[in-house]
């Protein structure tokens, strides 16, 4: 944990930071105010990109219609991790069995929204913006970060991954930060004497600094903010990644990403919204082996994430949510795969979660154009997590007041 003084020294150490203009004093003020170790609750969101086959994730093994619809992909009673008399988890998910056994895993079934879109991009944007009408250009987590007391070094939300910032995190005041796993997150200066470093860093900061003016147009100010933010986050994260007590496990797959998140949480980094993704769920052909591998990667990563948090004593203030843009069609296709579908399942994990199966499994006889029908709007899940867990008014984030999913209210 950092003391207020350590935060300030660390922040002011780089001479470039002193000169960064209007953004930085605010950032320092924020840091100073928040330097006391927070006991704030944290939400980690894991995106399963490509459209996870929910029907082969939470499997209605006792339903004959399931076995009929999935002649080659079906999983039997004996191979699933049974969650009760009707459904069970895919056998690849043993990594999450401990969470289930301890009552730390909520399995939410039949999640979706009206008139589901079957395009990856549209559906992904709908989930990430929380707006099926597609009228909102920003993400639900980005908007939420505005209403959350942010105790981190100016990083309201952190995306761990090499790609672009996910839409879910866009719209955060000050911008959410992406940490790629390809770069070492060091500001390089190329060739030149060590005595020149300070002056050169100072110039980088000065050229990035906002000129101060409503006269500047949007795009330039946007780049300036991004640059200031980059220079500050670099300083801050360097310390956590390469300092004397560096966070281990940086780089690589979902497991490593979540280990980095666990380390950052343990080190008191202060960000309250983390986002990582696992890609490859668009299983149109020969689904069985790749889906097994993906679910195992997910479950192992999530299982070991909470183990790491437990070791450092932070597990109680973390909840993890998974989602995918859609489920897949009930009937498997001719290529031993599945095509784009609609309603699906999701997971909420953590010691503060009331474990159990939430909602009934959608009917396999009452379908919508071959797809499962939803009964739980995903915005109700969001609202429950925002109001109940993050303490952030969900109506301000989503425009409407959505009812909560009672089973997902945190314990106690």
């Amino acid at each position: 944990m950092f003391t207020r003084r350590q935060f300030l020294t660390r922040t002011l150490r780089g001479s470039s930071l002193v000169a960064l203009g209007t953004v930085v004093p605010q950032f320092i003020a924020q840091t100073a105010r928040a330097a006391a170790p927070g006991k704030d609750r944290i939400l980690v969101v894991v995106e399963l990109a490509g459209g996870n086959d929910g029907l082969n994730t939470v499997i209605p093994y006792a339903d004959d219609l399931y076995h009929k619809a999935r002649p080659t992909l079906r999983r039997t009673k004996d191979t699933v991790i049974r969650l009760g008399d009707h459904v069970g988890l895919h056998s690849g998910m043993r990594g999450m069995q401990a969470l289930w056994d301890q009552g730390h895993l909520a399995v939410v079934q039949g999640v979706g929204y009206p008139n589901p879109d079957r395009s990856h991009f549209e559906a992904m944007d709908i989930w990430q913006s929380a707006d099926p009408k597609r009228a909102t250009p920003t993400g639900w987590l980005g908007r939420a970060s505005a209403g959350i007391d942010n105790r981190s070094g100016g990083v309201p939300a952190l995306h761990i991954g090499p790609g672009r910032l996910p839409m879910a995190l866009t719209g955060a005041p000050g911008g959410a930060v992406s940490v790629g796993d390809q770069n070492s997150f060091r500001l390089e200066m190329g060739r030149g004497g060590a005595d020149r470093q300070a002056d050169r860093r100072k110039l980088l900061g000065e050229l990035a600094a906002p000129a101060g003016g409503p006269g500047e147009y949007d795009l330039l100010s946007f780049v300036q903010r991004r640059q200031v933010q980059t220079l500050t986050a670099v300083e801050d994260l360097r310390d956590l990644l390469e300092g004397p007590n560096a966070v281990r496990g940086y780089g690589g797959g979902l497991q490593q990403k979540l280990q980095l998140v666990a380390g950052l949480i343990a080190r008191g980094f202060g960000t309250r919204i983390f986002y990582a993704s696992l890609d490859g769920f668009d299983t149109h052909a020969d689904q069985a082996s790749s889906h097994q591998r993906l679910l195992a990667e997910l479950a192992d990563a999530v299982g070991s994430f909470f183990q790491a948090l437990k070791t450092t004593g932070h597990d109680g203030r973390v909840q993890l949510l998974t989602f995918s843009e859609f489920g897949r069609r009930v009937q498997e296709n001719g290529s031993r795969g599945t095509d784009h579908g609609a309603a699906s399942c999701l997971f909420v994990a953590g010691p503060a979660v009331r474990g159990g199966v939430v909602g009934r499994h959608p009917s396999l006889s009452d379908l919508d154009a071959g797809d499962l029908k939803f009964h739980t709007d995903f915005r109700r899940v969001y609202a429950t997590l925002l109001d109940g867990w993050l303490g952030c008014e969900s109506k301000a984030v989503m425009g409407d007041q959505w009812g909560h999913v009672a089973e997902l209210e945190p314990k106690g």
Partner: protein, 486 residues
């Protein structure tokens, strides 16, 4: 500058697209030549700006649209090399390097810019296709049609081997259609969301049944083709894929979708009202989707040479890296002792790390572009590349520990510290202006210029120390906010 700018919806669409003429108040010069070169090419070298100033806007646009004399000949050689590159065991990396070479030295940067546009439009990734040879062939198809007509391009891409693998066409068979290609064809390649129905997708998928690949090229499999009648976009017939493409090309939505996308690529990332694009859409339809004509109209227009377009885009990684290299590198005559070839292969991992792995877009929607290019991670990559290019460590592979400590100079052809001598600038103000005039023609915020001047002046460096200081200044200029804008 924005205070007096007319809102986009108040602009007269007809006059906006009329050819721009320089005037004493708004003359042709480095600002606009640099602007044109950033959009129609991969940024200007110093010699390009000098040439463009002499040729004027019409002359330089002709040169850009037609390519340099001999570019056709060069292309034949480049294509031969590409074939060899793609066939190598490390074909994937070889091809990236090969294409970057073509962009930088192929003599026809506008054509390559459009190949990049189409690569992003018909975004296909080697991550799934796996075969460099097929990716190479698709790249050639895109090049053949880059400045041609959209109809033949859409027909060709519908039969392209890499595309057929990419969107699972082999599993699209009579009775069990796979909708992947039919959906993306309508959603991303032609009509855009909202201009077709789910039923159109399903019916179109039937028309494409049996459109398969043998792993090399297109192969029609009549036994697996559904020959029955289909209704797509309100028209019915016993159609195959080619007919579906034809029906799509008859839809006004197709021109609107493409014009908007090309506008974003060439003119501005600020979304325009439909009305502003309508004259372009109309002539695009009337000319049977003549891409070169559309691009010429855009790049010659009053709207293009206005503050509505100037620095209204964020550079993609390819534009950022290649533009910086073009400004730093001087191509001496091969007989000149200062001549150095440009080792373009070291640029490829840099572009990739900034989020644009050529031949491997993130998905079929391509790179989202615009502000999405800049996050903390990619911004840092840009700054680190700028340092390596400006101080020369980019070219020394691998840079040794002693090397970075020393004040060693890069070869003159790759040394940005040449510029003051070339421009005969000695005072810090003049050196700063020479740098800004080459790297960010059109100027920067006055206080940023003042900081740069002070940086160059501090301690009155001379000789090798001044050269070192200039390189440090170029590093900062390449990292500065204005430089991120195209």
């Amino acid at each position: 500058m924005t205070a007096t700018l007319l809102p986009l919806d108040k602009i007269d669409p007809v006059t906006a697209w009329q050819p721009w003429r320089p005037s004493p108040a708004d003359p042709w010069g480095r600002k606009w030549a640099g602007h044109l070169y950033r959009r129609a090419a991969f940024g200007p070298a110093r010699e390009d700006l000098t040439e463009a100033e002499q040729l004027g806007p019409a002359g330089i646009l002709d040169l850009l649209l037609g390519g340099r004399p001999g570019a056709d000949e060069t292309l034949r050689t480049i294509v031969d090399i590409g074939q060899v590159a793609a066939a190598r065991e490390d074909g994937e990396d070889q091809m990236r390097s090969w294409w970057v070479y073509g962009m930088l030295q192929g003599g026809h940067p506008l054509r390559e810019k459009l190949v990049l546009f189409w690569h992003n439009h018909f975004a296909t990734s080697i991550a799934k296709v796996h075969r460099p040879g097929l990716m190479f062939r698709q790249n050639c198809v895109l090049r053949d049609h880059a400045l041609g007509r959209f109809g033949p391009l859409l027909q060709a891409i519908s039969r392209d081997g890499a595309m057929l693998l990419w969107l699972d066409s082999n599993s699209n068979v009579k009775g069990k259609p796979n909708e992947n290609y039919a959906r993306e064809l309508m959603e991303l390649f032609s009509l855009g969301v909202g201009n077709y129905t789910e039923k159109d997708v399903r019916e179109a998928a039937r028309a494409f049944t049996g459109w398969h690949t043998d792993g090399e090229g297109f192969r029609f499999n009549p036994g697996l083709h559904d020959g029955g009648p289909k209704t797509v976009l309100g028209k019915t017939g016993s159609w195959d894929g080619g007919d579906v493409v034809r029906v799509i090309l008859e839809q006004p939505a197709t021109a609107r979708f493409l014009v908007r996308k090309l506008y974003t690529f060439f003119v501005s990332e600020t979304p325009p009202p439909d009305a502003l694009l309508e004259p372009l859409c109309e002539s695009f339809r009337k000319t049977d989707y003549d891409v070169a004509g559309l691009v010429r109209t855009m790049l010659a227009s009053r709207h293009f040479y206005s503050d509505h377009a100037f620095r209204r885009r964020i550079k993609s990684p390819v534009e950022y890296v290649l533009g910086a290299v073009r400004a730093v590198y001087r191509r001496y005559a091969e007989t000149d002792p200062e001549y150095r070839p440009l080792p373009q292969q070291v640029l490829v991992p840099r572009v990739t790390a900034m989020g644009q792995s050529l031949f491997a877009p993130p998905n079929v929607k391509g790179w989202p572009g615009g502000r999405a290019w800049l996050n903390t991670s990619t911004m840092l990559e840009r700054a680190n590349f700028a340092a390596a290019l400006a101080t020369g460590t980019l070219w020394t592979v691998p840079p040794s520990a002693t090397d970075t400590a020393a004040d060693a100079a890069p070869p003159r052809a790759l040394d940005p510290a040449r510029l003051p001598a070339e421009e005969r600038a000695t005072r810090p103000e003049d050196i700063a202006d020479a740098l800004l005039d080459l790297y960010v023609p059109g100027g920067v915020r006055p206080d940023a210029r003042a900081k740069l001047v002070a940086f160059l002046a501090a301690g009155n460096p001379a000789g090798a120390a001044l050269d070192g200081r200039v390189r440090e200044a170029v590093h900062a200029v390449l990292a500065m906010p204005e430089y991120q804008l195209a």
